[in-house]
């Protein structure tokens, strides 16, 4: 396999390979996808570690994300400052966690952060309402939405404090083996 690429140094590529679930080729392919989002912003030479952030509007327009109800939350969770603008590191991180090789615990951790809209490390009733609203897109009435949130807290809240902690969430995920295959974005 020839090292003909000039985008990264050998050490950088090795580091990416060791820190994500991607092979060298996939990392290069992802880099070119990232670069395509903002060709004038993203340089073709990353050996000097430029500090480049692609704004959220461009990330959210990617075909894999543009119709996802949670695209804004996903971008916010994986971006550096929580505002949705992503560096290449964030971009690779995001797709690495959402790939099919990431283990369940890692995915559960990030899924928890995505569903935690107010970033208080707990999924409270308000977070659940936001989630359900985004999922059903106005298909349910307000009364039904609150009924659903109540039911979810009933089912999943193990320590009965009125909100879901990370443990409750992970416990619930253990009983949902489909989670691993549904929390997956193919790129």
């Amino acid at each position: 396999m020839g090292n003909k690429q000039t985008v990264f140094t050998h050490e950088q590529l090795e580091a990416y390979q060791d820190c994500t679930f991607f092979t060298r080729k996939e990392i290069m392919r992802l880099f070119y996808r990232y670069q395509d989002l903002a060709p004038q912003l993203v340089p073709l030479d990353y050996t000097t570690c430029p500090d480049v952030k692609v704004p959220y509007e461009l990330i959210g327009s990617m075909p894999e994300l543009k119709d996802n109800p949670f695209r804004q939350r996903i971008a916010q969770v994986f971006s550096e400052d929580g505002d949705g603008h992503m560096t290449l590191d964030n971009f690779l991180d995001m797709f690495s966690v959402m790939s099919e090789m990431a283990p369940r615990d890692l995915k559960a951790y990030y899924a928890f952060k995505i569903y935690d809209f107010n970033n208080d490390d707990y999924i409270c009733a308000w977070d659940l309402e936001q989630t359900v609203t985004k999922l059903t897109r106005g298909g349910l009435s307000a009364e039904e939405v609150s009924l659903v949130c109540e039911k979810v807290l009933d089912e999943a809240d193990g320590d009965h404090d009125g909100r879901l902690s990370l443990e409750d969430f992970q416990n619930m995920i253990l009983r949902a083996p489909d989670f691993l295959s549904t929390f997956h974005i193919r790129i």
Partner: protein
């Protein structure tokens, strides 16, 4: 480090923050307060953590909390690592771990003694940003190299091992890259997943997985049996008419396609060339094929069981799963909207089910329901048995029928009838739904599945019985080729029916649903039925591999064509599924099905063939032998005369051929299984106790 006053100050800030965070999540101020909050909790708990560990009490809850905060404390490490990173880019070497928190140091300490493979796995699984992972990796590597520097003399061995493992890892990476690049249909699968979701995708993944089996079997067969046979092939004197593609007789009888064509001699080219014993090659190649399939199935099954098996004691929360298992693979706009609409409907149904949950049925209603089930089961079993009997008598009658009628297309009658049964009877079974009422729609799906499986397995079973008891003992010349031809015809007819169904049947259903009776709408892809068809075809291929070595190649082509036809039909004639389909659990079940009645049945059939049946006298690699297995016996006998191979004879006589060995092996396996079972039981008890502990310790739990 922070002074005590500072810590107190921050703890006060902690209380303020936790009470009222409802505003815009990306507000910088709240974020900064969270920074301090996290770092303070970090400090406080790090001290308590050390205390806990020092006093050697294992308090799982504390540890858990420590871990939780470790994961959430991105900020402090991040700001430090950002400076590290920029310094790194400028090429300045930064000092090691003076700024890392205590948890970070513990993590590094735990990573250093691991092997490089485990270390990389652990780093990848860390829920940290890329920066932090990179720095972690850098620090651990530096520490590791410092350590190996210190113990340099003794360990040129270890350095050798390190370099070997590094080279191995690199070669594994490049191999997986190559495999990924030739991985089939990535883009098509992405589109299917984008429009229809994970459940329909699972069918196509299953098809691709079966294709891999067939490709492997074909390559093995081709290299070890077919190519040598080509070198000594006799000229084919028969005529070729187009009908052979469907009937498999005629011209094809004297080709490498069937068992009968293979020579039983030892092929030798030239005077001093190596000799190639065709008998042994045949039996060993087929054996190797099936053994690899066996182990591959076993490992896949174990992997799926491990990931997807839920302890049935823990309930399965209905609505929570609907909310949190949104299918992120769906990417097309229309599909997403449809999915959202379907989800609303499903949630509403779930809510209304919950309200009705408590209505109990009267005794009369229970009785009617129970008798409806009984009647339905009796009728379905009766229908299955009737079909089997019909197939058996038709097969028997077929032999005489063929002797009197000379129309070459007449051999297609049996496969045609079998395919019709496979098409019509499942439709009859799904009509039972009108009579039987199930509480949960899931039970309906399972019952339908079980009935269909029973039907298909009985048909294959009755055909095997017919082949092994009637055809093999009928005294026909070259009965193995006859069986091979039968299987080929069955497979081909099944394939033709499937194609016709895809292009004609589903198309008609779409016209009916869209234009004539618009209330029906488009149909949904019936995953269970299609997967069962795949399993049925694969079972036939595995049975036929002994009698028709080219069958994996034929199945390969058929699967290839079927992928494209199903894909085109899917895009044109179907709508995305409206109900949640438990893809992982169903896949586990289907792979288990592929292993348990399907593959084990094949092994039984072949075992009976090899150990009990007499090969035909005039054709094939085993001609003239009293039993197929005698080829192995005579090989062992010839080996025992050669001094260099006595160890093989020893292994055969004392390990494979001896009862004591298998008895001891079975005993050891049973003991290990029992031990593992006890360990699992113990862990279940511990999970329950810990769960209770969590509930009891929580502030509201004792209410």
């Amino acid at each position: 480090m922070l002074s005590d006053d500072h810590v107190n100050e921050i703890i006060i800030q902690v209380e303020n923050v936790s009470s009222g965070v409802q505003s815009h999540p990306s507000s910088n101020q709240i974020f900064q307060e969270k920074v301090l909050l996290d770092s303070s909790i970090n400090m406080v708990l790090s001290i308590s953590d050390i205390d806990v560990i020092d006093s050697q009490t294992v308090s799982k809850r504390n540890d858990q909390k420590g871990n939780q905060v470790l994961r959430f404390s991105t900020s402090l490490n991040e700001s430090m690592s950002q400076t590290l990173h920029s310094l790194e880019c400028m090429g300045i070497d930064t000092p090691g771990s003076s700024h890392e928190t205590v948890q970070g140091q513990k993590l590094i300490a735990s990573l250093i003694p691991m092997t490089s493979r485990d270390r990389i796995k652990a780093i990848r699984n860390q829920p940290r940003t890329m920066e932090e992972k990179r720095n972690l990796r850098k620090i651990v590597d530096k520490e590791k190299s410092k350590q190996t520097h210190r113990i340099l003399q003794l360990n040129c061995c270890i350095q050798c091992l390190n370099s070997i493992s590094r080279a191995y890892r690199r070669s594994k990476n490049s191999l997986s890259e190559i495999l990924n690049s030739i991985s089939l249909w990535q883009k098509t699968l992405k589109i299917i997943g984008g429009k229809f979701g994970t459940s329909v995708l699972s069918y196509f993944n299953f098809l691709r997985w079966l294709l891999k089996f067939n490709i492997f079997s074909f390559i093995l067969n081709f290299s070890f049996i077919i190519i040598p046979q080509f070198t000594v092939a006799k000229k084919n004197t028969l005529q070729f008419t187009g009908l052979e593609f469907f009937t498999g007789v005629g011209y094809f009888r004297d080709t490498v396609m069937y068992y009968g064509f293979y020579t039983n001699s030892t092929i030798q080219h030239g005077n001093s060339g190596a000799s190639y014993n065709m008998q042994l090659a045949y039996i060993f190649t087929i054996g190797a094929c099936l053994t690899t399939c066996f182990f591959s199935l076993l490992f896949s099954m174990a992997k799926y069981f491990r990931n997807n098996f839920i302890n049935p004691h823990i309930y399965s929360g209905g609505i929570t799963k609907l909310i949190f298992c949104w299918d992120f693979t769906v990417t097309h706009e229309k599909a997403v909207k449809l999915k959202q609409k379907n989800l609303s409907t499903e949630i509403r149904e779930n809510l209304s089910e919950l309200r009705q949950e408590n209505s109990k049925l009267t005794f009369n209603q229970l009785l009617t329901r129970f008798s409806a089930y009984m009647v339905a089961w009796v009728v379905s079993t009766g229908v299955a048995i009737a079909c089997c009997a019909a197939v058996y008598y038709l097969a028997e009658y077929n032999l005489e029928f063929l002797k009197t009628h000379s129309n070459p297309g007449a051999v297609l009658l049996l496969p045609f009838v079998v395919s019709c049964i496979n098409l019509a009877v499942p439709c009859i079974y799904s009509m039972f739904r009108l009579v039987e009422r199930y509480e949960m729609p899931r039970h309906e799906v399972y019952v339908l599945l079980i009935r269909n499986i029973f039907l298909k397995i009985s048909i294959i079973g009755i055909l095997c019985y017919y082949w092994l008891n009637t055809v093999a003992l009928s005294g026909e010349e070259c009965w193995e080729t006859l069986i091979g031809q039968d299987i080929y015809r069955l497979l081909l007819m099944d394939f033709v029916f499937s194609l016709v169904n895809s292009f004609l049947g589903e198309f008609l259903r779409r016209i009916i649903g869209m234009q004539l009776i618009t209330s029906l709408g488009l149909q949904e892809f019936d995953i269970a039925r299609n997967v069962l068809e795949l399993i049925y075809a694969q079972t036939l291929v595995w049975i036929g591999i002994f009698f028709c070595p080219l069958l994996p190649f034929i199945q390969m082509i058929m699967l290839f064509i079927m992928f494209y036809s199903k894909n085109i039909s899917l895009m044109m004639n179907f709508q995305p599924p409206s109900k949640a389909w438990r893809a992982s659990q169903m896949m586990t079940f289907f792979i288990f099905l592929l292993f348990f009645p399907s593959f084990t049945g094949v092994l039984c059939t072949l075992a009976i063939t090899i150990w009990r049946l007499k090969p035909s006298a005039d054709c094939g690699p085993f001609r003239g032998l009293p039993l197929f297995i005698h080829s192995i016996y005579s090989w062992i006998d010839t080996l025992s005369t050669r001094p260099g191979y006595l160890w093989v004879v020893w292994i055969y006589r004392n390990l494979i051929g001896s009862v004591h060995f298998f008895f001891i092996l079975t005993l050891i396996v049973l003991i290990i299984t029992y031990l593992y079972w006890q360990i699992t039981e113990g862990r279940k008890i511990m999970i329950r106790l810990l769960h209770e502990q969590i509930i009891n310790v929580s502030p509201l739990g004792s209410l």
